[in-house]
Protein backbone atom coordinates (compact mmCIF):
# COMPACT_ATOMS: atom_id res chain seq x y z
CA UNK A 1 0.00 0.00 0.00
CA UNK A 2 2.69 2.47 1.10
CA UNK A 3 5.08 1.26 -1.57
CA UNK A 4 2.29 1.50 -4.15
CA UNK A 5 1.77 5.12 -3.24
CA UNK A 6 5.50 5.82 -3.31
CA UNK A 7 5.77 4.15 -6.72
CA UNK A 8 2.96 6.38 -7.96
CA UNK A 9 4.77 9.55 -6.87
CA UNK A 10 8.11 8.32 -8.22
CA UNK A 11 6.40 7.82 -11.58
CA UNK A 12 4.66 11.22 -11.33
CA UNK A 13 8.05 12.86 -10.78
CA UNK A 14 9.37 11.14 -13.88
CA UNK A 15 6.47 12.23 -16.09
CA UNK A 16 5.85 15.75 -14.68
CA UNK A 17 9.15 17.38 -13.75
CA UNK A 18 7.50 20.15 -11.69
CA UNK A 19 5.67 17.79 -9.38
CA UNK A 20 8.34 15.81 -7.60
CA UNK A 21 6.88 14.87 -4.20
CA UNK A 22 10.31 13.66 -3.24
CA UNK A 23 9.73 13.61 0.54
CA UNK A 24 7.01 11.01 0.06
CA UNK A 25 9.37 8.36 -1.30
CA UNK A 26 12.88 9.45 -0.33
CA UNK A 27 13.44 8.69 3.40
CA UNK A 28 16.22 11.28 3.72
CA UNK A 29 13.97 14.09 2.47
CA UNK A 30 11.10 12.78 4.56
CA UNK A 31 13.30 13.07 7.65
CA UNK A 32 14.13 16.64 6.70
CA UNK A 33 10.47 17.58 6.41
CA UNK A 34 9.50 15.86 9.65
CA UNK A 35 12.51 17.30 11.47
CA UNK A 36 11.65 20.79 10.22
CA UNK A 37 8.03 20.43 11.22
CA UNK A 38 9.00 19.19 14.67
CA UNK A 39 11.42 22.10 15.11
CA UNK A 40 8.67 24.56 14.13
CA UNK A 41 6.35 22.96 16.68
CA UNK A 42 8.99 23.06 19.43
CA UNK A 43 9.87 26.65 18.59
CA UNK A 44 6.20 27.65 18.61
CA UNK A 45 5.42 25.95 21.91
CA UNK A 46 8.46 27.38 23.70
CA UNK A 47 7.74 30.90 22.42
CA UNK A 48 4.03 30.60 23.26
CA UNK A 49 4.79 29.72 26.87
CA UNK A 50 7.56 32.27 27.41
CA UNK A 51 5.73 35.10 25.66
CA UNK A 52 2.61 34.56 27.77
CA UNK A 53 4.70 34.49 30.95
CA UNK A 54 6.39 37.73 29.85
CA UNK A 55 2.95 39.20 29.14
CA UNK A 56 1.52 38.35 32.57
CA UNK A 57 4.57 39.43 34.55
CA UNK A 58 5.10 42.55 32.43
CA UNK A 59 1.49 43.68 32.75
CA UNK A 60 1.77 43.22 36.52
CA UNK A 61 5.03 45.18 36.62
CA UNK A 62 3.52 47.96 34.53
CA UNK A 63 1.35 48.99 37.44
CA UNK A 64 4.05 48.61 40.05
CA UNK A 65 4.77 51.44 42.45
CA UNK A 66 8.38 51.71 41.31
CA UNK A 67 8.69 54.20 38.51
CA UNK A 68 11.96 52.67 37.39
CA UNK A 69 10.34 49.28 36.89
CA UNK A 70 7.41 50.83 35.03
CA UNK A 71 9.61 52.73 32.62
CA UNK A 72 11.84 49.68 32.12
CA UNK A 73 8.80 47.66 31.04
CA UNK A 74 7.60 50.54 28.89
CA UNK A 75 10.99 50.81 27.22
CA UNK A 76 11.05 47.09 26.55
CA UNK A 77 7.58 47.15 25.01
CA UNK A 78 8.40 50.11 22.78
CA UNK A 79 11.65 48.56 21.61
CA UNK A 80 10.26 45.17 20.69
CA UNK A 81 6.97 46.39 19.30
CA UNK A 82 8.52 48.98 17.07
CA UNK A 83 11.31 46.97 15.45
CA UNK A 84 10.86 44.17 12.90
CA UNK A 85 11.18 40.64 14.32
CA UNK A 86 13.57 39.56 11.59
CA UNK A 87 15.99 42.33 12.54
CA UNK A 88 15.60 41.44 16.21
CA UNK A 89 16.58 37.86 15.40
CA UNK A 90 19.65 38.95 13.46
CA UNK A 91 20.58 41.42 16.16
CA UNK A 92 20.27 38.87 18.94
CA UNK A 93 22.14 36.16 17.11
CA UNK A 94 24.92 38.10 15.42
CA UNK A 95 25.37 41.08 17.75
CA UNK A 96 24.59 39.75 21.21
CA UNK A 97 25.71 36.25 20.28
CA UNK A 98 29.29 37.52 20.03
CA UNK A 99 29.35 38.51 23.67
CA UNK A 100 27.89 35.37 25.19
CA UNK A 101 30.40 32.84 26.49
CA UNK A 102 31.14 29.62 24.68
CA UNK A 103 32.46 26.28 25.82
CA UNK A 104 34.51 23.57 24.21
CA UNK A 105 33.29 20.00 24.55
CA UNK A 106 36.30 18.37 22.85
CA UNK A 107 39.05 20.95 23.04
CA UNK A 108 38.66 21.85 19.38
CA UNK A 109 35.20 23.10 18.74
CA UNK A 110 33.94 26.35 20.30
CA UNK A 111 30.24 26.00 20.99
CA UNK A 112 28.34 29.09 22.16
CA UNK A 113 26.26 28.53 25.29
CA UNK A 114 23.18 29.86 23.55
CA UNK A 115 22.60 28.10 20.24
CA UNK A 116 20.81 29.64 17.26
CA UNK A 117 17.66 27.80 18.42
CA UNK A 118 18.12 29.37 21.85
CA UNK A 119 18.44 32.84 20.35
CA UNK A 120 15.39 32.26 18.18
CA UNK A 121 13.34 31.32 21.24
CA UNK A 122 14.62 34.33 23.17
CA UNK A 123 14.11 36.84 20.36
CA UNK A 124 10.66 35.61 19.31
CA UNK A 125 9.43 35.29 22.91
CA UNK A 126 10.52 38.85 23.67
CA UNK A 127 8.90 40.02 20.44
CA UNK A 128 5.53 38.40 21.09
CA UNK A 129 5.82 39.10 24.83
CA UNK A 130 5.87 42.84 24.19
CA UNK A 131 2.52 42.57 22.43
CA UNK A 132 1.18 40.28 25.13
CA UNK A 133 2.00 42.86 27.80
CA UNK A 134 -0.09 45.44 25.95
CA UNK A 135 -2.89 42.91 25.43
CA UNK A 136 -2.99 41.99 29.11
CA UNK A 137 -2.71 45.63 30.16
CA UNK A 138 -5.80 46.44 28.12
CA UNK A 139 -7.52 43.49 29.80
CA UNK A 140 -6.51 44.64 33.28
CA UNK A 141 -7.79 48.11 32.56
CA UNK A 142 -11.13 46.64 31.51
CA UNK A 143 -11.59 45.00 34.93
CA UNK A 144 -13.62 47.52 36.93
CA UNK A 145 -11.58 49.23 39.61
CA UNK A 146 -14.42 48.59 42.03
CA UNK A 147 -14.01 44.81 41.65
CA UNK A 148 -10.40 45.12 42.75
CA UNK A 149 -11.46 47.44 45.55
CA UNK A 150 -13.88 44.77 46.76
CA UNK A 151 -11.01 42.28 46.89
CA UNK A 152 -8.88 44.73 48.82
CA UNK A 153 -11.69 45.56 51.22
CA UNK A 154 -11.77 41.83 52.06
CA UNK A 155 -8.19 42.12 53.24
CA UNK A 156 -6.46 40.75 50.14
CA UNK A 157 -3.00 41.98 49.30
CA UNK A 158 -2.34 43.50 45.90
CA UNK A 159 -0.84 40.24 44.71
CA UNK A 160 -3.75 38.17 46.04
CA UNK A 161 -6.23 40.48 44.36
CA UNK A 162 -4.24 40.22 41.13
CA UNK A 163 -3.95 36.45 41.02
CA UNK A 164 -7.41 35.58 42.37
CA UNK A 165 -9.57 38.26 40.83
CA UNK A 166 -7.91 40.55 38.30
CA UNK A 167 -5.95 37.97 36.33
CA UNK A 168 -8.77 35.45 35.79
CA UNK A 169 -11.02 38.25 34.54
CA UNK A 170 -8.26 39.80 32.45
CA UNK A 171 -7.59 36.48 30.79
CA UNK A 172 -11.19 36.20 29.68
CA UNK A 173 -11.21 39.73 28.31
CA UNK A 174 -7.83 39.34 26.60
CA UNK A 175 -8.29 35.92 25.06
CA UNK A 176 -9.43 37.00 21.56
CA UNK A 177 -6.56 39.47 21.17
CA UNK A 178 -4.16 36.96 22.71
CA UNK A 179 -5.20 34.30 20.18
CA UNK A 180 -4.51 36.67 17.33
CA UNK A 181 -1.06 37.49 18.65
CA UNK A 182 -0.13 33.86 19.31
CA UNK A 183 -1.26 32.89 15.82
CA UNK A 184 1.01 35.61 14.50
CA UNK A 185 3.81 34.26 16.64
CA UNK A 186 3.53 30.77 15.17
CA UNK A 187 3.65 32.28 11.71
CA UNK A 188 6.68 34.39 12.65
CA UNK A 189 8.74 31.41 13.83
CA UNK A 190 9.83 30.76 10.24
CA UNK A 191 11.92 33.93 10.35
CA UNK A 192 14.35 31.90 12.45
CA UNK A 193 15.29 30.62 8.99
CA UNK A 194 17.55 33.67 8.81
CA UNK A 195 19.78 32.38 11.59
CA UNK A 196 19.78 28.85 10.19
CA UNK A 197 17.39 27.27 12.67
CA UNK A 198 16.42 24.02 10.93
CA UNK A 199 12.67 24.62 11.04
CA UNK A 200 10.10 23.90 8.36
CA UNK A 201 10.96 26.75 5.99
CA UNK A 202 14.70 26.12 6.31
CA UNK A 203 14.31 22.44 5.52
CA UNK A 204 11.91 23.11 2.68
CA UNK A 205 14.26 25.56 1.04
CA UNK A 206 17.12 23.07 1.45
CA UNK A 207 15.04 20.41 -0.24
CA UNK A 208 14.15 22.49 -3.27
CA UNK A 209 17.68 23.79 -3.56
CA UNK A 210 18.84 20.20 -3.81
CA UNK A 211 15.90 19.11 -5.94
CA UNK A 212 14.42 22.01 -7.91
CA UNK A 213 11.75 19.69 -9.27
CA UNK A 214 10.37 19.43 -5.71
CA UNK A 215 9.75 23.17 -5.34
CA UNK A 216 6.00 23.26 -6.08
CA UNK A 217 5.08 20.25 -3.94
CA UNK A 218 7.24 21.48 -1.06
CA UNK A 219 5.67 24.93 -1.09
CA UNK A 220 2.30 23.29 -1.08
CA UNK A 221 3.37 21.15 1.83
CA UNK A 222 4.50 24.19 3.82
CA UNK A 223 1.16 25.89 3.28
CA UNK A 224 -0.69 22.82 4.42
CA UNK A 225 1.54 22.42 7.49
CA UNK A 226 1.07 26.04 8.60
CA UNK A 227 -2.65 25.88 7.94
CA UNK A 228 -2.80 22.77 10.10
CA UNK A 229 -0.64 24.16 12.92
CA UNK A 230 -2.37 27.51 13.12
CA UNK A 231 -5.72 25.82 12.68
CA UNK A 232 -5.01 23.60 15.68
CA UNK A 233 -3.93 26.58 17.74
CA UNK A 234 -6.96 28.69 16.94
CA UNK A 235 -9.21 25.70 17.53
CA UNK A 236 -7.58 25.21 20.93
CA UNK A 237 -7.87 28.88 21.84
CA UNK A 238 -11.52 28.86 20.80
CA UNK A 239 -12.16 25.84 23.02
CA UNK A 240 -10.41 27.53 25.89
CA UNK A 241 -12.49 30.65 25.38
CA UNK A 242 -15.67 28.59 25.52
CA UNK A 243 -14.48 26.72 28.58
CA UNK A 244 -13.76 29.94 30.46
CA UNK A 245 -17.10 31.47 29.60
CA UNK A 246 -19.02 32.43 32.73
CA UNK A 247 -22.80 32.03 32.74
CA UNK A 248 -24.44 35.43 32.75
CA UNK A 249 -21.19 37.40 32.44
CA UNK A 250 -20.76 39.96 29.64
CA UNK A 251 -18.70 39.48 26.48
Amino acid sequence: MLTDMQDFFRELAATSPHWNFIWLYDPVQMDRVLGGLWMTIKLSLACLVFSVVIGVVGAWAQEAKSRLLRSAVQGYVQFFRNTPPLIQLLFFYFALGQFTPSYSPDGWLEVPIISNVGWAIIALSFFAGAFNIEIFRAGIEAVPHSTREAAESLGMTRLQAYTNVVLPLTLRISLPALSANLINLVKTTNQAYAIAVPELLYQSVSIWNDFPSAQNPTMLLMMVCYLGLVGLLSLGMGQWERKLRIPGYGV
Partner: protein, 249 residues
Amino acid sequence: MTNWTADQPIVRLRDVHKSYGQVEVLRGISMDVMKGEVICIIGPSGSGKSTLIRCINALNDIQAGSIQVEGQEVHDPRLDKLALRRKVGMVFQQYNLFPHKTALQNVMMAPVKVLKEKPAEVETRARALLKKVRLEGKENHYPGELSGGQQQRVAIARSLAMRPDVMLFDEVTAALDPETVKEVLVTIKDLAAEGMTCILVTHEMGFAREVADHIYFTDRGVIVEHGPPAEFFTQAKDARTRDFLDQVL
Protein backbone atom coordinates in the same frame (compact mmCIF):
# COMPACT_ATOMS: atom_id res chain seq x y z
CA MET B 1 -1.83 46.26 70.57
CA THR B 2 -4.09 48.97 71.81
CA ASN B 3 -5.93 49.09 75.07
CA TRP B 4 -9.33 49.48 73.52
CA THR B 5 -12.24 48.16 75.56
CA ALA B 6 -15.81 47.58 74.51
CA ASP B 7 -17.11 50.52 76.50
CA GLN B 8 -15.21 52.92 74.25
CA PRO B 9 -16.40 53.81 70.75
CA ILE B 10 -15.55 51.04 68.28
CA VAL B 11 -15.28 53.65 65.53
CA ARG B 12 -14.18 57.12 66.47
CA LEU B 13 -13.76 60.04 64.07
CA ARG B 14 -12.27 63.35 65.10
CA ASP B 15 -12.20 66.40 62.86
CA VAL B 16 -11.66 64.41 59.67
CA HIS B 17 -10.66 66.41 56.60
CA LYS B 18 -10.45 65.00 53.11
CA SER B 19 -10.08 66.66 49.75
CA TYR B 20 -9.78 65.55 46.17
CA GLY B 21 -7.34 68.05 44.74
CA GLN B 22 -8.83 71.47 45.37
CA VAL B 23 -12.24 70.16 46.33
CA GLU B 24 -12.72 69.70 50.03
CA VAL B 25 -15.13 66.81 50.49
CA LEU B 26 -14.98 66.34 54.24
CA ARG B 27 -14.52 69.45 56.33
CA GLY B 28 -14.17 68.33 59.90
CA ILE B 29 -16.27 65.28 60.66
CA SER B 30 -16.47 63.86 64.18
CA MET B 31 -18.52 60.88 65.23
CA ASP B 32 -18.56 58.08 67.78
CA VAL B 33 -20.00 54.66 67.11
CA MET B 34 -20.42 52.24 69.98
CA LYS B 35 -20.25 48.49 69.62
CA GLY B 36 -23.58 47.07 68.44
CA GLU B 37 -24.92 50.40 67.30
CA VAL B 38 -26.58 51.02 63.95
CA ILE B 39 -25.66 54.37 62.45
CA CYS B 40 -27.30 55.85 59.37
CA ILE B 41 -25.67 58.66 57.48
CA ILE B 42 -28.03 60.59 55.25
CA GLY B 43 -27.73 63.74 53.21
CA PRO B 44 -27.90 65.17 49.71
CA SER B 45 -25.69 63.62 47.06
CA GLY B 46 -22.22 65.07 46.94
CA SER B 47 -22.21 65.76 50.64
CA GLY B 48 -19.33 63.34 51.28
CA LYS B 49 -21.26 60.40 52.76
CA SER B 50 -19.61 57.71 50.66
CA THR B 51 -16.18 59.27 51.02
CA LEU B 52 -16.62 59.27 54.76
CA ILE B 53 -17.50 55.59 54.93
CA ARG B 54 -14.65 54.66 52.56
CA CYS B 55 -12.17 56.45 54.80
CA ILE B 56 -13.10 54.17 57.68
CA ASN B 57 -11.54 51.12 56.04
CA ALA B 58 -8.74 53.09 54.40
CA LEU B 59 -10.00 52.81 50.82
CA ASN B 60 -9.59 56.59 50.82
CA ASP B 61 -6.90 58.45 52.72
CA ILE B 62 -7.51 61.59 54.75
CA GLN B 63 -5.58 64.85 54.97
CA ALA B 64 -6.19 65.71 58.60
CA GLY B 65 -7.94 64.47 61.70
CA SER B 66 -8.13 61.01 63.16
CA ILE B 67 -10.11 57.85 62.52
CA GLN B 68 -9.83 55.03 65.03
CA VAL B 69 -11.26 51.54 64.78
CA GLU B 70 -11.05 49.63 68.04
CA GLY B 71 -8.57 52.21 69.24
CA GLN B 72 -6.29 51.80 66.25
CA GLU B 73 -5.46 54.79 64.12
CA VAL B 74 -6.61 53.92 60.58
CA HIS B 75 -4.43 56.42 58.78
CA ASP B 76 -1.25 55.68 60.64
CA PRO B 77 1.19 54.78 57.84
CA ARG B 78 2.53 51.93 59.98
CA LEU B 79 -0.92 50.39 60.32
CA ASP B 80 -1.47 47.03 58.68
CA LYS B 81 -4.31 48.03 56.34
CA LEU B 82 -5.09 44.42 55.59
CA ALA B 83 -5.55 43.61 59.28
CA LEU B 84 -7.90 46.57 59.57
CA ARG B 85 -9.95 45.47 56.59
CA ARG B 86 -10.38 42.02 58.10
CA LYS B 87 -12.15 43.71 61.02
CA VAL B 88 -14.22 46.08 58.92
CA GLY B 89 -16.52 44.58 56.31
CA MET B 90 -17.71 46.67 53.41
CA VAL B 91 -20.68 46.31 51.07
CA PHE B 92 -20.82 48.45 47.94
CA GLN B 93 -23.59 50.02 45.91
CA GLN B 94 -22.64 47.99 42.82
CA TYR B 95 -22.20 44.72 44.78
CA ASN B 96 -18.76 44.19 43.17
CA LEU B 97 -18.96 40.41 43.32
CA PHE B 98 -16.27 38.39 41.57
CA PRO B 99 -18.10 37.52 38.35
CA HIS B 100 -16.00 34.43 37.59
CA LYS B 101 -16.86 32.74 40.88
CA THR B 102 -20.12 31.19 42.04
CA ALA B 103 -22.00 32.63 45.00
CA LEU B 104 -20.43 30.04 47.29
CA GLN B 105 -16.91 30.64 45.93
CA ASN B 106 -17.38 34.39 46.32
CA VAL B 107 -18.14 33.91 50.01
CA MET B 108 -15.33 31.40 50.52
CA MET B 109 -12.51 33.16 48.72
CA ALA B 110 -11.31 35.65 51.32
CA PRO B 111 -11.36 33.34 54.37
CA VAL B 112 -9.46 30.68 52.41
CA LYS B 113 -6.95 32.99 50.69
CA VAL B 114 -6.55 35.71 53.30
CA LEU B 115 -7.17 33.97 56.62
CA LYS B 116 -5.76 30.66 55.31
CA GLU B 117 -8.61 28.73 56.88
CA LYS B 118 -9.39 25.18 55.84
CA PRO B 119 -11.69 25.15 52.77
CA ALA B 120 -13.94 22.46 54.26
CA GLU B 121 -14.59 24.54 57.38
CA VAL B 122 -15.08 27.71 55.38
CA GLU B 123 -17.54 25.96 53.11
CA THR B 124 -19.74 24.95 56.04
CA ARG B 125 -19.71 28.52 57.27
CA ALA B 126 -20.28 29.96 53.80
CA ARG B 127 -23.30 27.71 53.23
CA ALA B 128 -24.72 28.78 56.59
CA LEU B 129 -24.19 32.44 55.70
CA LEU B 130 -25.89 32.06 52.34
CA LYS B 131 -28.78 30.39 54.11
CA LYS B 132 -28.89 33.26 56.55
CA VAL B 133 -29.19 35.81 53.75
CA ARG B 134 -31.94 33.57 52.31
CA LEU B 135 -30.04 32.33 49.29
CA GLU B 136 -30.25 28.62 49.92
CA GLY B 137 -30.13 26.79 46.61
CA LYS B 138 -28.23 29.61 44.85
CA GLU B 139 -24.80 28.47 46.01
CA ASN B 140 -23.66 27.37 42.57
CA HIS B 141 -25.07 30.28 40.62
CA TYR B 142 -22.76 32.84 39.12
CA PRO B 143 -23.37 36.53 39.94
CA GLY B 144 -24.54 37.11 36.37
CA GLU B 145 -27.36 34.64 36.96
CA LEU B 146 -28.63 36.37 40.09
CA SER B 147 -30.86 39.42 40.48
CA GLY B 148 -29.45 42.63 41.91
CA GLY B 149 -30.96 41.97 45.32
CA GLN B 150 -29.60 38.44 45.36
CA GLN B 151 -26.15 39.65 44.35
CA GLN B 152 -26.18 42.23 47.09
CA ARG B 153 -27.05 39.58 49.65
CA VAL B 154 -24.17 37.43 48.40
CA ALA B 155 -21.96 40.48 48.88
CA ILE B 156 -23.20 40.82 52.46
CA ALA B 157 -22.52 37.13 53.12
CA ARG B 158 -19.07 37.53 51.57
CA SER B 159 -18.21 40.33 53.99
CA LEU B 160 -19.64 38.43 56.96
CA ALA B 161 -17.51 35.39 56.13
CA MET B 162 -14.49 37.36 57.36
CA ARG B 163 -16.21 37.71 60.77
CA PRO B 164 -15.88 41.51 60.85
CA ASP B 165 -16.55 43.58 63.96
CA VAL B 166 -18.01 46.47 61.99
CA MET B 167 -19.97 46.46 58.74
CA LEU B 168 -20.02 49.41 56.37
CA PHE B 169 -22.85 49.70 53.86
CA ASP B 170 -22.36 52.23 51.07
CA GLU B 171 -25.79 52.97 49.55
CA VAL B 172 -26.33 49.26 49.15
CA THR B 173 -29.89 49.54 47.88
CA ALA B 174 -29.39 52.50 45.55
CA ALA B 175 -28.88 50.32 42.46
CA LEU B 176 -31.78 47.98 43.18
CA ASP B 177 -35.33 48.03 41.95
CA PRO B 178 -37.96 48.72 44.59
CA GLU B 179 -39.12 45.12 45.04
CA THR B 180 -35.63 43.84 45.79
CA VAL B 181 -34.69 46.69 48.10
CA LYS B 182 -36.77 45.11 50.81
CA GLU B 183 -35.02 41.74 50.79
CA VAL B 184 -31.67 43.43 51.29
CA LEU B 185 -32.97 45.70 54.03
CA VAL B 186 -34.45 42.71 55.86
CA THR B 187 -31.03 41.08 55.77
CA ILE B 188 -29.37 44.14 57.24
CA LYS B 189 -32.09 44.39 59.86
CA ASP B 190 -31.40 40.79 60.92
CA LEU B 191 -27.74 41.63 61.25
CA ALA B 192 -28.46 44.69 63.34
CA ALA B 193 -30.75 42.66 65.56
CA GLU B 194 -27.90 40.23 66.21
CA GLY B 195 -25.80 43.07 67.54
CA MET B 196 -23.52 43.73 64.55
CA THR B 197 -22.16 47.25 64.51
CA CYS B 198 -23.39 48.77 61.25
CA ILE B 199 -22.64 52.07 59.59
CA LEU B 200 -24.90 52.76 56.63
CA VAL B 201 -25.02 55.44 54.01
CA THR B 202 -28.59 55.31 52.81
CA HIS B 203 -31.45 57.07 51.15
CA GLU B 204 -34.02 54.74 52.69
CA MET B 205 -35.55 57.09 55.25
CA GLY B 206 -38.15 54.63 56.47
CA PHE B 207 -35.46 52.06 57.08
CA ALA B 208 -33.21 54.55 58.84
CA ARG B 209 -36.02 55.58 61.07
CA GLU B 210 -36.87 52.01 61.96
CA VAL B 211 -33.42 50.49 62.43
CA ALA B 212 -30.94 53.22 63.27
CA ASP B 213 -29.85 54.01 66.80
CA HIS B 214 -28.46 57.29 65.63
CA ILE B 215 -28.80 59.34 62.48
CA TYR B 216 -26.24 61.75 61.07
CA PHE B 217 -27.16 64.31 58.46
CA THR B 218 -24.27 65.58 56.36
CA ASP B 219 -24.18 68.46 53.93
CA ARG B 220 -21.18 69.91 52.11
CA GLY B 221 -18.70 67.90 54.10
CA VAL B 222 -19.89 68.64 57.62
CA ILE B 223 -22.32 67.01 59.99
CA VAL B 224 -25.17 69.43 60.17
CA GLU B 225 -27.23 67.60 62.70
CA HIS B 226 -27.45 64.24 64.43
CA GLY B 227 -29.65 62.46 66.91
CA PRO B 228 -31.81 59.43 67.58
CA PRO B 229 -34.32 58.90 64.77
CA ALA B 230 -37.44 59.81 66.73
CA GLU B 231 -35.96 63.21 67.51
CA PHE B 232 -34.20 63.68 64.20
CA PHE B 233 -37.19 63.14 61.94
CA THR B 234 -39.65 65.20 63.96
CA GLN B 235 -37.67 67.96 65.61
CA ALA B 236 -34.88 68.88 63.19
CA LYS B 237 -33.40 72.16 64.29
CA ASP B 238 -31.32 73.12 61.28
CA ALA B 239 -32.98 74.67 58.26
CA ARG B 240 -30.94 72.56 55.83
CA THR B 241 -32.02 69.35 57.55
CA ARG B 242 -35.66 70.40 57.44
CA ASP B 243 -35.38 71.28 53.74
CA PHE B 244 -33.87 67.92 52.98
CA LEU B 245 -36.43 66.02 55.00
CA ASP B 246 -39.24 67.91 53.34
CA GLN B 247 -37.96 66.82 49.97
CA VAL B 248 -37.44 63.14 50.75
CA LEU B 249 -40.22 62.31 53.16
